[in-house]
């Protein structure tokens, strides 16, 4: 039912998958996510939409192979089918002409930035992006971002491409240079989003982040994705996934994301053993 139309390696451990899902395509908006299951034993994997193609009736997701579920997903081939895909989930991005928008994407987080960037460009906003990765090989979607954005800035942790350092450093430089920024959108690892929030806070620049806590059902029932926003408990799945970065308790989020690290290792070892036999 949910047939894989394309599977492509974008960078080491980073893959792009296109899935036939006409009903979801008809309803997809920037900022929303889907949940998929590879097989009957599989976890529910939340992934933010990286693209969708009405002409082909496909949605595009980009994911990193970091645990059993994503490794299983990456091991599938074109024409195989996924067990389940549900979506679109979550609230769409509040897209309007803000003036100048800076989109910051880190690592695989650049993927969900793509539709948001496109949507802002359509409103007539000036769109500047800052994209970064650990190194040049891991940097994805540079060409696509260049096609849309008015400016693209790049950083890598090791300096193999662009500015040596973090995306937050580049944002700081732009602010210091006197760029007038009306809003910042940041998607990436939680530590990166926290750094972006701290960079913009003193300058009172409105900053929005898309959070990726652990989720199970993804439709408001389990509360696993609860995050503290402005001191209140919010569910990323139905209240988010986008929130005001300056209100998010990132330390709590990061701890909660690491809650099942031991089990994730167990699952991976188990899977490798089963596959080996």
């Amino acid at each position: 039912m949910y047939r894989i139309v394309a599977m492509q390696t974008l960078a080491p451990q980073t893959k792009l998958i296109e899935i036939y899902a006409p009903e979801i395509v008809a309803k997809a908006h920037a900022g929303q996510f889907v949940i998929l299951r590879v097989d009957e034993e599989g976890e529910r994997i939340p992934l933010t939409l990286a693209d969708w193609k009405p002409e082909a009736n496909t949605i595009t997701l980009i994911f990193q192979e970091v645990g059993v579920s994503t490794i299983k997903l990456g091991s599938l081939n074109v024409n195989e089918e996924l067990c389940d895909v549900v979506g679109p989930l979550g609230n769409p991005t509040d897209v309007r002409n803000y003036g100048t928008v800076v989109i910051v994407g880190g690592g695989v987080g650049i993927a969900p930035c793509l539709p948001i960037t496109k949507a802002f460009k359509k409103t007539g906003s000036r769109v500047i992006s800052i994209i970064g990765a650990r190194n040049e090989k891991l940097l994805i979607l540079e060409r696509e971002m260049r096609c849309i954005c008015d400016e693209v800035h790049i950083s890598t942790d090791d300096g193999s491409k662009g500015h040596k350092g973090f995306v937050s450093d580049v944002l700081n430089i732009l602010i210091k240079k006197g760029y007038s920024i009306d809003i910042v959108y940041a998607i990436g690892p939680s530590v990166m989003m926290r750094a972006i929030a701290e960079t913009t806070r003193p300058h009172k620049i409105k900053t929005v982040v898309s959070l990726n806590p652990i989720m199970v059902d993804g439709m408001g029932m389990c509360g696993a994705c609860r995050v503290s926003v402005g001191g209140k408990v919010k569910f990323a799945c139905v209240d988010g996934p986008e929130f005001d970065a300056h209100q998010v308790d990132f330390d709590q989020l990061i701890k909660r994301q690491r809650a099942f690290l031991a089990e994730e290792r167990t699952a991976l070892e188990h899977w490798e053993k089963c596959r080996g036999n």
Partner: protein
């Protein structure tokens, strides 16, 4: 000791055979095994066949209780199940989880002299009898050509779909999760509600011609106005109460503190009891505290035990008398070794360096005057705080309505609590052609009250469709 003369009326009901205690605490197989034919007949014969039976008045779905029991007593099991199914398409489910002691059995005259007739167990017996044999394809009325969308495949949705299909309407059920059944699947554990039973009852609904679409979250994938525009004449909303409530205490975000829903969804829907053969993990450790004393709390505690916890506590701020769980469930839990910590309320949590819960501070309570709910209000006893060591905390203090439909349907009137406002008689919402029933209307309640609401709504939807 002198033997009493054999009384014609047997005061005690036939006990339910159960899985052996030492075995059942290590597996998720059903605890109550069900009556044998002989046991069922013996229990059915206890029924006095009152000239004016009170039992049926207590049934939210109007089953002709006396008649089906008489048929069992006469060993006419096929006719007995047919009698039940005249009113209830999901008897194997109801026979297991209805609070019969508050409904039909509460009204049973036998209850005045001894145990009431165990109607629930008899309903389950005939349902299981038929399931073993293979249910016959049900009779349906001629097609009306009208289409109805049912949102949610829990108890309310399934019964509404079944009743409408029997009346000849074309019904599509939209289920947001990857498995049908709603709370019957994700919420109630297999040792109380085997998942094959839910599937089998749903198969019966499918045989009526109902189409069940999984992975379809209404509100996001299609809105209700879109459904009405695209070929559906009426819509029934049975989306339930699944949004978890938290305590609002310091450090409640620690790892190892689950909402009961998260805990039960992991275990029941994602089968994390079979981790790592199934990919979704759960961690319980040795000491588990479940906060709350309803059926969901009992289910969570008994799951924790089966996942290998050594000590499992029910922590409840009132006393035993106020515990909202069914007596049968409390009895099962205690039998299995669950420890009740009554008149105790948590006040804060403490975690380890990894951010995992390790201790819970509690305060002792006493009961004061009755509050709005009619139950005596719990009052903290000053300076009675103490610390409990815990590896896992499950918060089972209630669930509120699922919010997505309300947020995405313009003109749909709701209460401050997030429930949908309906006409009590008909189940109609503020929108024409749109009906609702079950927990989404009442807030968290029982499987059978949701089914009762579904049946009422199905009747009004039928009237609406035929007069449209």
């Amino acid at each position: 000791m002198e033997k009493k003369p054999k009384s014609k009326i047997c005061k005690e009901s036939v006990p339910m055979p159960k899985q052996k205690l030492e075995e059942r605490i290590h597996n998720f197989n059903e605890v109550a095994l069900g009556y044998t034919e002989e046991q069922a007949v013996a229990e059915a014969k206890r029924c006095l066949q009152c000239p004016e039976p009170k039992c049926a008045e207590g049934c939210p779905v109007d089953i002709d209780i006396q008649a089906f029991i008489k048929l069992i007593a006469e060993r006419k099991f096929d006719e007995a199940i047919a009698k039940v199914k005249e009113k209830n398409s999901l008897p194997a489910i109801c026979g297991r989880v209805c609070p019969q002691e508050e409904q039909c059995q509460n009204a049973c005259v036998m209850g005045k002299v001894g145990d009431p007739v165990n109607i629930g167990r008899l309903e389950r017996f005939v349902a299981d009898y038929e399931m073993k044999k293979g249910a016959e394809t049900p009779r349906k009325q001629a097609p009306t050509g009208k289409r109805v969308a049912v949102i949610g495949s829990g108890p309310a949705g399934l019964i509404t779909a079944a009743d409408l299909a029997k009346l000849g309407h074309e019904v599509v059920v939209f289920e947001a999760l990857h498995k049908l059944g709603g709370v019957l699947t994700y919420g109630i554990p297999a040792f109380r509600m085997p998942k094959e039973i839910v599937q089998a009852e749903a198969d019966y609904v499918r045989k009526l011609g109902v189409e069940i679409k999984l992975n379809a979250l209404i509100g996001r994938l299609h809105t209700i106005p879109e459904l009405l525009k695209n070929g559906f004449t009426a819509v029934f909303i049975g989306t339930g109460a699944g949004l978890p409530t938290f305590l609002g205490l310091p450090n409640e975000s620690l790892g190892g503190i689950y909402s009961a829903n998260e805990f039960l969804i992991r275990v029941n829907l994602m089968k994390s009891y079979a981790f790592p053969d199934y990919d979704t993990p759960i961690r319980v450790g040795e000491k588990v505290a479940v906060i709350g004393a309803g059926n969901v709390a009992m289910d969570s505690a008994r799951c924790a035990l089966r996942l290998g916890a050594k000590e499992v506590y029910i922590v409840y701020r009132r006393s035993r008398n106020e515990m909202p769980a069914r007596a049968e469930e409390i009895e099962n839990a205690e039998e299995e070794g669950i420890i009740l910590k009554l008149l105790t309320n948590p006040t804060k949590f403490f975690g380890d360096e990894q951010g995992w819960v390790k201790q819970m501070e509690c305060i002792k309570m006493r009961l004061g005057e009755p509050d709005q709910s009619g139950r005596r209000r719990p009052i903290p006893i000053e300076s009675s705080e103490f610390i409990m060591n815990v590896d896992t905390v499950v918060i089972a203090i209630g669930r509120t309505p699922n919010p997505i439909i309300q947020r995405t349907t313009e003109g749909l009137q709701t209460t401050k609590r997030g429930t949908i406002i309906v006409d009590e008689e008909t189940g109609q919402t503020s929108l024409e052609g749109v009906y609702a029933g079950g927990d989404i209307v009442t807030g968290e309640a029982t499987v059978i009250s949701a089914m009762g609401a579904g049946k009422r709504a199905a009747r009004s939807i039928h009237d609406y469709l035929m007069n449209e």
